[in-house]
């Protein structure tokens, strides 16, 4: 909470008449805008998208000397000449023509003191808006370390507007900034700078816009003459040295790989204990309800529908938080841009740019923020291709599917005699690699066919090295978790309940008992038909069938058979049987088909659905490693009418490959629709991904069966 400023209030002012001052925060990317926003307004009161576009709208409120101030955070941009959605929205908000946005009373333009010339470009454009302007001179501490000093008083008098140095992380200069905001709204706006494009000596016939850009820089050079002083220091050379190592051809690549490996393994290993804690808590709630509630539809709904669904949501939070923690730290210290720089050449090869790296990397957490992050890609073609392949990156929703199936069905044996390289890890890494490779192929094909055209310009700032701001990092983590819980979470719980209902109804105990009785008869008949056969195989089969028959006569066995019959007779069972011919070549039984259908809204639902569908009774409880309820259920699953296990290694791999490539995520498809402004692209995405997933799963199962 602000210390020098009054805390934000959510109530209207005492007299009930005063409307808040609306202040827009405008600035280049990497100027500390998020830090300043957090320092001024704390947690945003509103985070969402502007209508019709997926440019983030972030608003907050604070009170300064009885003035209520509404802060609107505009996207980070370099110019007010609109050529990207971010620039469009910023300009529309500033000109008061953005739907749902209030009229702006004052523009705070952030200017990074370390690169004031470039930052003043946006300042000069903002001065022409006819709105009161306050320049917040940010990163003055970093500038001082580099030996840069800015005479802000002279700058203010030359610009005709207040220039307030701020060190947002230390809350320095916030009160003077707020004072200046309140004061300028009572004065007339500053005069627009006089730019003289006609004075530019131009033998090359540039466009008026280009001449204006040149003239603006000429104006800036005069503006800053004598204002910015540079004294040599050692700090800059330290920064240069860091940069030289991290963008070095060899060292930089190694650091990059090390950083990415650290991030990846941290999500995987460090998040595990917290996830265990969460799932343990969910299990005990389920156990508590199981023990206290009477058997019946309500208990079933709560335990198998609600608790299972909630458990399936919260278990991802540690991973999401962990990934966003790393991504925000990397972004905050300036490494994400370096990563784009290092990776650009690689992505150009498949028709993308280094800018696609960040959206694609984010897609490893979730395709939704990844797809939204594509708005930083100026070019529509690059952006569309990135959007179309982003869902192929293995997101956190797939990870539980991979982890569960790997842990349950892939032996944890050393690979190639290396004790530290385990088969489970290799399989898991392969799933991620599969997504990347397929994405590269799809992107290359798309950019050479549907989206043919010349390569796009790549012009990217490499921000200075700095310490990431804790509050900004935490806010991003909080927001990521919250948006997951509120948007994806509710959907997943809802789907879990719907799936429970579809898998539980219609429920007729007569029909179920009749089916169990039929099963018994069929088993008896098969045992009798084998009586004359003296071969060893027949003897084995006879023994198996007799065992099943014996089991059916026990109370537990009868209960398991009843549950099986109930799910076979449910709506879901019928749907699964319908598509069985389609999934049979993948090695799947109709139950897996059901789970795949039910997982359309969100991939992770597949686990919950499998749990509900394979309600096959308990297996050996003494087995320590099979303590996870679902793993036990899956391992106990057999093909209908036999003891042959459904889940073998090839089947588990086939399911993993399917989920690596499929588009079973309604939220992603909705976001693609919104982002591209057309329902064609979600349809294209769903069709091509489902097709690839089916082919991939088919090849995996058929090859796996042939080889293993």
């Amino acid at each position: 909470m602000p210390s020098q400023l009054d805390p934000p209030t959510n109530t209207t002012s005492v007299d009930g008449q005063e409307t808040p001052l609306v202040v827009a925060l405008l600035g280049n990317p990497n100027t500390g805008k998020s830090t300043l926003f957090t320092a001024l307004a704390g947690i945003p009161t509103r985070v969402g998208n502007y209508p019709g576009v997926t440019v983030e709208e972030k608003r907050g409120q604070f009170t300064h000397q009885s003035s209520r101030i509404e802060l609107i955070d505009l996207p980070g941009i370099y110019s007010l000449i609109p050529r990207s959605p971010d620039e469009d929205v910023a300009m529309a908000v500033l000109e008061g023509r953005q739907e749902g946005s209030p009229k702006i009373d004052c523009v705070v333009v952030l200017a990074d003191a370390t690169s004031l010339e470039r930052n003043c470009y946006l300042v000069s454009q903002a001065l022409a808006l006819g709105l009161p302007v306050v320049v917040a001179l940010t990163l003055v501490d970093l500038a001082a370390d580099r030996g840069i000093s800015v005479d802000h008083a002279t700058l203010a008098s030359r610009l005709g507007c207040p220039v307030i140095p701020v060190i947002a992380p230390q809350r320095d200069g916030l009160a003077p900034l707020a004072d200046a905001i309140v004061a300028t709204t009572k004065q007339s706006p500053p005069a627009a700078p006089t730019i003289h494009p006609e004075q530019i000596d131009d033998p090359n016939g540039h466009s008026p816009a280009a001449l204006e850009a040149m003239a603006r820089y000429r104006w800036i050079e005069q503006l800053l003459d004598g204002v910015v002083k540079q004294t040599p220091t050692t700090r800059w050379s330290l920064e240069e040295r860091i940069d030289a190592v991290l963008t070095h051809r060899v060292a930089g690549t190694f650091v990059f790989i090390a950083v990415m490996l650290t991030v990846f393994s941290s999500i995987f290993w460090a998040a595990a204990p917290i996830m265990d804690l969460f799932s343990g808590a969910v299990d005990s709630v389920a156990g508590f309800l199981q023990a206290r509630l009477p058997e019946g539809a309500v208990r079933s709904l709560l335990v198998d529908g609600v608790v299972a669904g909630v458990g399936g949501v919260v278990v991802f939070l540690p991973q999401i938080a962990m990934l966003f923690l790393f991504v925000s730290i990397l972004e905050g210290c300036g490494y994400l841009a370096r990563a784009a720089y290092l990776m650009d050449r690689l992505l150009v090869g498949v028709g993308l740019s280094g800018r696609s790296f960040i959206p694609l990397l984010s897609s490893f957490a979730c395709a939704i923020p990844g797809i939204m992050a594509t708005r930083t890609i100026e070019n529509r073609r690059d952006r569309l291709v990135t959007i179309l392949v982003a869902p192929l990156m293995s997101c956190s929703a797939r990870l539980p599917v991979y982890v569960l199936l790997t842990a349950a069905f892939v032996p944890n044996t050393p690979v190639a005699g290396l004790p530290w390289l385990r088969l489970q890890a290799v399989v898991l890494a392969s799933m991620y690699a599969l997504g990347v490779v397929v994405a590269a192929i799809v992107a290359a094909i798309l950019s050479r066919t549907v989206f043919r055209g010349p390569p796009q310009p790549f012009v990217m700032e490499l921000p200075g090295w700095r310490w990431p701001q804790l509050m900004v990092v935490l806010e991003r983590v909080r927001e990521a978790c919250w948006s997951f819980l509120s948007a994806a979470g509710t959907l997943i719980v809802a789907v879990s309940i719907v799936v429970w209902a579809l898998a539980s109804y219609p429920y007729s105990i007569e029909a179920i008992d009749a089916e169990v009785a039929r099963e018994k008869v069929s088993l008896t008949e098969r045992v009798e038909s084998l009586a004359d056969d003296t071969s060893a195989a027949a003897a084995d089969l006879r023994e198996e069938l007799t065992d099943q028959l014996t089991l059916l006569n026990t109370e537990e066995g009868l209960e398991a058979a009843r549950r099986g019959a109930a799910s076979r007779q449910s709506f879901l069972g019928r749907a699964g049987r319908l598509i069985e011919p389609v999934v049979r070549p993948l090695g799947w039984d109709w139950r897996i088909g059901c789970a795949a259908i039910a997982s359309f809204p969100a991939r992770e639902v597949v686990l919950g659905t499998l749990g509900v569908i394979y309600n096959l009774g308990e297996v050996d409880p003494g087995e320590e490693e099979g303590s996870n309820m679902l793993i036990r259920r899956l391992r106990a699953a057999t093909w209908d009418g036999s003891n042959r296990p459904v889940f073998t290694l090839p089947v588990a791999l086939s399911i993993m490959v399917f989920f690596a490539l499929c588009a079973q995520c309604a939220s992603t498809l909705v976001v693609i629709g919104k982002e591209t402004g057309s329902w064609v692209w979600p349809l294209v995405t769903f069709s091509y991904m489902t097709g690839l997933a089916w082919i991939g799963a088919l090849l995996t199962y058929q090859l796996g069966t042939a080889l293993l």
Binding site: R249, D344, P455, V459
Partner: protein, 85 residues
């Protein structure tokens, strides 16, 4: 007179002309790559592209393709500050 993509890493050059008149040109100008500016080629990505420039107190990366549109004259040789790295 040469183009920026041919300036070796560590060398400084003065921009004489930005060729072309499309959104990419405008973006380069907006980022401060205006005629008359002296900049330094600070580095090159591991795969040879893009390159890293130091200008107006900040670092900018552009592809060789864009760099080829920027006509420059080399003004001085490398500072040897990075010799130890």
């Amino acid at each position: 007179m040469t183009s920026l993509d041919r300036v070796p890493v560590g060398f400084s050059a003065r921009v004489t002309r930005v060729v072309g008149d499309d959104p990419a040109t405008l973006r380069l100008l907006e980022m401060g790559l205006t005629p008359g500016l002296t900049l330094r080629v600070a580095g090159m990505a591991p795969l040879g592209d893009p390159i890293e420039l130091e200008l107006r107190g900040y670092r900018l990366s552009i592809r060789r393709r864009e760099a080829a549109r920027i006509e420059v004259e080399v003004v001085e040789t490398a500072q040897v500050a990075l010799a130890g790295v």
